[in-house]
Amino acid sequence: MVREITLGQYMPGKSLIHKLDARTKIVLLIAYIVFIFLCKNFISLLIMSLFSLLVIFMTKISFMKYLKSLRMILFVIILTGVLNVFYGSGDVLWQWWELKITTGGLINAAFVIVRISMLMMVSSVLTYTTSPTDLTDGLERLMKPLTVFHVKVHEIAMMMTIALRFIPVLLEETDKIMNAQKARGADMESGNIIQRVKALVPVLIPLFVSAFRRAGDLATAMECRCYNGGKNRTRMKVLHFSLKDLGALISCIVIFSSVIVSNMLFAAVI
């Protein structure tokens, strides 16, 4: 089960999206998140959805991979969708005791579901098309101004690189430990929630012990390769802002402003 998590998984490719500078992609993703929540009517939501699908199509990564990323948060999508159905005003379509389904509620639910799904898929575009090193490098460069406030930008970026690198390693390890404990007769599938949480303790303790041992090894290996905390460090792949990035920025500005325009032109439904 744990192996199916595709979070932070990079899929090498040669598409235009792959070639964009990591910083461009990060900034545009943040802007995207803001604008998908600014959509007030179906027209603007449609613009954003079409735009999202276009971007996903341009990555040349199979759409199934994106659907997989959705599956992880399927529960969240359904839950928020269902909850939203019962909130909101408008014509009452169906009522039972205090629970009412209204037209407003249905529209709310539709908006929330589309927003969360698009958000997840477009975030996946960033992690699927950007190598972890580029991603953390991009973040490091974007956060550089924060060093003025004594934020340890390089250290944060390094921690993220290592975290992304070790997510699959630790997931595999969790799988192994779970199997080992099951082989010893541990029961992890039955019982109420408290019993199940308790059953996880014999998994978590070995996992922590091994994680610390790995950390020790990794620190030694990094020392052997002359790591000294990022002083005078160079990079093999230097990020550089090209015409492609400028093009991407401009097209996104156009699309995002069309959202604002349609918000102003058409009546808000939410």
Binding site: Y10, S131, I162, V169, A221, N232, T234, R235
Partner: protein, 282 residues
């Protein structure tokens, strides 16, 4: 042969405060020549890994001195010079790969040294080609086999253009095929590029291919010499609970039964050949 690493009467204990704690290294003196392939063998806890970590200043001797290419490993100012000259590859390949893409991990060491990007690119490509992993440069390490990961780790050290590579049981966690791949890569680096290799291992079959074998026992050097010399002293090795290669063991036992076989046989082919000759003579 020009002397490259000089270890002079080194004692080391992990807990320096505790006067009564035992020494992990007990007066080790050893000299390693430039371009030599030395295998250090011994069973668990004999101090061989401790010795490996001394060669690039991860550990500093409690007493005694170690010189790498004339630099004392105690010299703090030249720490990075030493680490640049002597690379260390550890046992677990998973734990020494820092980045999520093979070629970016190989570049890690060079990036730390502040080498310009174009130069790093060349070095990374060369290092990956040297260990035959160039085709996997864009892969994620967790999709590779153990042997491939270990070769990536070696490439990461190679990219720093070291003069010596110390491998601390690089094959202990690998399957036979992975072990083969790694040993082939290591030997190629030694023969083709003249890199000094110190291989710490407990597989006697790997040790026999070295120029020189150093046997360690309880923190000291028990004996050293060419593989044939060392492994012909079967009684002494047995007394210290040390293994000999299987072929050597077989010949030793047959000799014990009175068969006329030569000493100093290290691998299966020679062993089969010798037995064949022996039978033919009868």
């Amino acid at each position: 042969m020009e002397e490259y690493i000089k270890i002079e009467n080194v004692y080391f204990r992990y807990d320096e405060e505790d006067e009564n704690s035992s020494f992990a290294l007990n007066g080790v003196s050893l000299s390693i020549g430039r371009g030599e392939f030395v295998a250090v063998v011994g069973h668990n806890g004999c101090g061989k890994s401790t010795l490996a970590k001394h060669l690039n200043s991860l550990y500093i001797p409690t007493t005694g001195e170690i010189y790498v290419d004339g630099i004392n490993t105690k010299d703090d100012e030249r720490l990075f010079d030493i680490r640049k000259k002597v690379g260390l590859v550890l046992q677990n390949p998973d734990n020494q790969i820092v980045a999520g893409i093979v070629e970016e991990d190989v570049a890690f060491g060079c990036e730390n040294l502040g080498i310009p990007p174009e130069e790093i690119r060349i070095r990374v490509d060369n290092a990956l080609k040297a260990v035959d992993m160039y085709d996997y440069r864009m892969h994620s390490p967790d999709k590779l086999s153990g042997g491939q990961k270990q070769r990536v780790a070696i490439a990461g050290i190679m990219a720093m253009e070291p003069e010596c590579i110390v491998l601390d049981e690089p094959t202990a966690m690998l399957d036979p095929q992975g072990r083969d791949e790694v040993m082939r890569a290591v030997k190629a680096l030694n023969k083709k590029m003249g890199i000094t290799i110190v291989l710490i291992t407990h597989y006697m079959e790997e040790a026999v291919t070295a120029d020189r074998v150093v046997m360690m026992d309880s923190g000291g050097i028990l004996l050293q010499g060419r593989p044939e010399e060392v492994f012909s002293k079967v009684e002494l090795l047995k007394k210290h609970r040390l293994d000999v290669p299987q072929a050597t063991e077989l010949i030793y036992r047959l000799r014990g039964c009175g068969f006329d076989l030569p000493e100093g046989i290290l691998n299966e082919e020679d062993c089969a050949e010798a037995i064949y000759r022996c039978i033919k003579k009868r």
